[in-house]
Amino acid sequence: MKRRDFLTGLGSAAIGLPLVLDGFTTRAFAESPTLKHVAMLAAAQDRVLVLIQLSGGNDGINTLIPLDQLSDYYRLRQAVAIPQNRIVKLNDATGLHPTFAPIKSLFDDGNLTIVNGVSYPTVNQSHFRSTDIWFTASDSEQYLSSGWLGRFVNYEAPTYPTGYPNDKTPDPLAIEIGGAMSLTLQGNTNATGITIRDLSAFEQLVSGQATTGGSVAQRTGKAGARIDFIRDVQAQSQKYSSRIRSVADKGRNKAQYPDKGKNPLADQLQIVARLIAGGLQTRVYVVNLGGFDTHWSQAEPSDVTTGIHANLLRYLAEGMKTFQQDLKLLGLENKVLGMTISEFGRRPATSSLGTDHGTAGPMFLFGAPVKGGIIGKNPSLTDLLPDGNLKMQYDFRQLYTSVLSQWFQADTQHLNTVMMKSFEQLPLLTTTSVRDEQAQATAISMTIRNYPNPCAGATRIEYHLPQSGTVHLTLHDMLGREIATVAQGYQAQGAQSVEFDASHLAQGAYFYRLQTEQGMTSGQMNVVR
């Protein structure tokens, strides 16, 4: 048996917290807020996020066509504009590129949430830099060396890979399909996941059968014999290989995926579905679809509904749809959330044969857990940034924060460790965060803010108490460490405010947290010098 392949860096393990729920009944959770919280956390341990990276910068305007601005669309986009009779209508305001049309049924079923105009302030138009910003969740000018999902994993598994796999976490904490681990999964010191190169490498790992992948050199003679030998050792030495093999043996895809090699994204999602079906406890998967940097030949001049971008959108739509079908047939649809990211969108005005780097673009969240529908408006093709690019409606970090909080039930400290700042959440999912649940349970909505903000010296923190009672108002740094108690004690119902002197604080972002008998709320304060 020869494995003519090089797999690299396949490690594995699972993040899962110990299941503290054994012995409790579902009824018990419902009755006790504390137990309910615990139950939600435990359910979150079972949840999976599949991140789809669309490398190169997807052209959002030709993915979702603004039916409300068609005259501007045709004026600006001569080279790539889809003829009106070929646009597939999603709703009255929004149309789909014809090859992206398969997602309409996902949308109609409520399994797709679209967020328009996602970006970040001051977009960097370098692919690598902007990709690094999306991977690390940094500001435009901020430099971070770890990825947001790497920090997410590290928070619960700070020593990884030391001590992993172990009895409680036998599976990889994260898996990326691809040749090299992206920055997304880079933790504070180590990569927090493993890579599986591609479907061929996966099949080989699972079957132990020789395959001939594109990157594998066939060699003969004494050197060739040794390369075969080393590849065998490599395959055996993947820490998680036997676990992945046994899980893949149990897992079966139930949907009909495109033939191997016909859709590079579907090939990857097929692996992910099979591993989830087989019981792998990995919570984070990263897959990649490249080629969106369509400066040239975005669309075929003879038929603009064909070409590079058309093919990519077909891969994406077919991939998401087949994966979702598979999960449904497998009975796993409530367990898995998908999300796309792309380092930037593309410019409204086209160049001769394609589109240049842009700014904001749509993000897609799919799966049974999403609320469905569209968040945000169609991007305006006339109210543009000075360089002719689209204006931002949402910061991509709001979506990250929302997913971590609503899907993985990350608490405030966890969120602050991963995201470094607090970001306003969007109502993306049918699941809600721990904090939301607490708030809903007591039917209390509290708002809190400070003015001025940003501040250099004195600022006033204002809030409204629905009931009289004991309050505890604390100030924290972005790592969640408490810096000061701002107010503590009994306060009366109604408007309250506390003066706070920020002049002794270092420049940066802080958040404050108001704990009452009814619930907790928080806000962010920015200190400038």
């Binding site: 370098s126 690094d132 594109g214 004494k222 050197a223 030998f229 030495s237 080629g291 969106f292 400066h295």
Partner: protein, 529 residues
């Protein structure tokens, strides 16, 4: 054309790399350049030229030598570490020279280990002996090692007296150090020698003991068996006449002379050299044309090793492409040569032996410790037969690779790029290869991704990568996800090049170059030599 005919052409780059990888620890880009286009004769003149005897090891905490002092029970374990670090440093600093690979060869043939000898001064003395004979006379070396104090301890020669005969050295001298065990044709008859010869040799060697004061050996006539020693037909029924008094020591010379009269002894050494330097598969043709010819040279040259090395490394057979990349790289070779290859690019620079001896010794300790973890510890052989990779059929060099050592090898190469910490006079210092400095040096146009991945990998792999593999490095490792990966890389390199101090721009290119180097260093091709 006979296999040992001289390779008369000029050496092309691939043959220069082959020669440097097999014979030195310094297959650096500069050394490859300097020998390419020259003749094998010219290259051998460099490789075999005598080099000054290095000054002895020190205690880097005091700067003082310890090999010439009395045994220090409290510090000896430290001295052993210093000795190993000193030796690793000699390997690391050895240039275009065979000296250190020959010293290591002798160490693996004429084994002594610290756990058995328990005196670092002894092992320094032995190590200096092996180095002095790197290009010396084999028969003289064997005479010296037979009464070397460390060897007297290691194989119990110091307990071999007429009252209590200890056969250990008398056996290993024949079985492992000189003539070798042939087929066991009858009970106790190993073709080349018999059990009778083991007993006779042990009696010849009675009387030798080690002297801790001054680290020397002494012949104690009272302990010597003064009767005649009768050898078997394997040695032409030789009788070594018994001598009494100080003259008893002369019998040891006669024993060695008898062994060295046997044609098989010369073949034995030449086979060992072949397995160490060329390959493990010795068929009838190689036995006749290579081993036979080398053995003739060894005997004809009165046991001088230099002419044998010269003949071997100038031969058509050595430069046969079938032998290039046909061995698994040993751990010491991997650790020392790879670190040496990148040594110019370490940030900060490697500590100086003169201005920071502790830092220097600690750095070199990191090298031998890594080799140790990969199951090749110096002065720490598993047993008297040496490292299994040089004798255990049928796997031989493949034995360096198992699931544990592969992980350690990958860990080592990842650390070269990712960083590792060593105590220097600046305190705990983090060292890493500055991959951008390296890339700029080896590649004149690093913005050209194809050229860059070629130059990054070209000197590292034992066999050249295929064009397909290099495309994979370009498309899937350097700039994954882009239909125009080259354009994306070119642009990002340009961003960095005009603003090299910007950490974000630097990270964008450095992390991707690191990925390529880490990937290449893990490829099976890189583990070949």
């Amino acid at each position: 054309m006979a296999l040992m005919d001289a390779y008369t052409g000029v050496l092309d780059e691939s043959r220069v790399k082959h020669l440097l990888r097999r014979t030195t620890f310094a297959p650096t880009t500069d050394n490859i350049k300097s020998l390419t286009g020259r003749s094998a004769t010219a290259a051998l003149a460099n490789l075999l030229s005598d080099t000054p005897i290095p000054s002895p090891p020190i205690d880097p905490t005091t700067g003082e030598q310890w090999h010439n002092k009395s045994y220090n029970r409290d510090k000896d374990a430290n001295y052993n570490e210093y000795l190993k670090s000193w030796w690793a440093g000699l390997m690391f600093n050895d240039g275009v020279s065979l000296r250190e690979k020959m010293t290591l060869f002798w160490h693996n043939l004429l084994v002594s280990s610290y756990p058995a000898v328990q005196d670092a001064r002894y092992l320094y003395r032995q190590n200096a002996l092996l180095r002095r004979f790197a290009f010396g006379n084999v028969r003289t070396l064997l005479k010296e090692i037979t009464i070397d104090p460390a060897m007297l301890r290691y194989l119990n020669g110091n307990t071999n007296t007429k009252a209590t005969i200890n056969e250990n050295y008398g056996r290993e001298l024949q079985e492992l150090f000189t003539i070798g065990k042939g087929a066991e044709v009858s009970a106790g008859n190993y073709t080349n020698y018999t059990e009778q010869d083991v007993r006779a040799a042990a009696r010849v060697l009675t009387g030798w003991t080690d002297v801790p004061e001054g680290v020397t050996s002494r012949f104690v006539a009272d302990n010597h068996v003064s009767e005649d020693k009768q050898f078997s037909a394997a040695y032409q029924n030789t009788v070594i006449r018994g001598r009494s008094g100080a003259d008893g020591a002369q019998e040891t010379d006669e024993l060695l002379d008898m062994i060295f009269r046997q044609p098989e002894t010369a073949r034995f050494f030449c086979r060992k050299l072949y397995v160490w330097f060329v390959g493990t598969e010795i068929d009838a043709t190689i036995e006749k044309e290579v081993i036979g010819e080398l053995a003739n040279t060894l005997r004809g040259g009165n046991w001088e090793i230099k002419p044998v090395l010269e003949m071997l490394f100038k031969s058509q057979h050595f430069f046969d492409t079938a032998n290039i990349g046909a061995m698994v790289k040993s751990p010491i070779d991997l650790v020392v040569s790879t670190t040496k290859y990148f040594s110019k690019y370490f940030a900060p620079t490697i500590p100086s032996q003169v201005s920071d001896p502790e830092g220097y010794y600690n750095f070199m300790k990191w090298l031998w410790q890594n080799a140790d973890t990969q199951e090749m510890g110096i002065l720490n052989h598993p047993n008297v037969a040496g490292w299994k990779a040089y004798y255990q059929t049928p796997l031989y060099d493949r034995l360096w690779m198992n699931t544990a050592t592969l992980a350690s090898r990958n860990d080592f190469t990842d650390k070269l790029l990712g960083g590792f910490t060593i105590a220097t006079k600046q305190g705990m210092t983090r060292f890493a290869v500055d991959s951008i400095a390296f890339a700029k040096d080896v590649c004149s146009s690093p913005s050209n991704g194809d050229d860059l991945v070629d130059k990054l990998s070209i000197d590292l792999t034992g066999v050249a990568l295929t064009s397909e593999q290099k495309l994979y490095l370009m498309d899937e490792v350097l700039a994954p996800g882009f239909s125009n990966a080259r354009g994306a890389w070119d642009m990002n390199w340009s961003f960095y090049a005009v603003d090299p101090d910007n950490p974000a721009k630097r990270q964008a290119v450095q992390s991707r170059i690191d990925n390529v180097l880490k990937f290449v260093l893990q490829m099976p091709e890189t583990h070949l030599v």
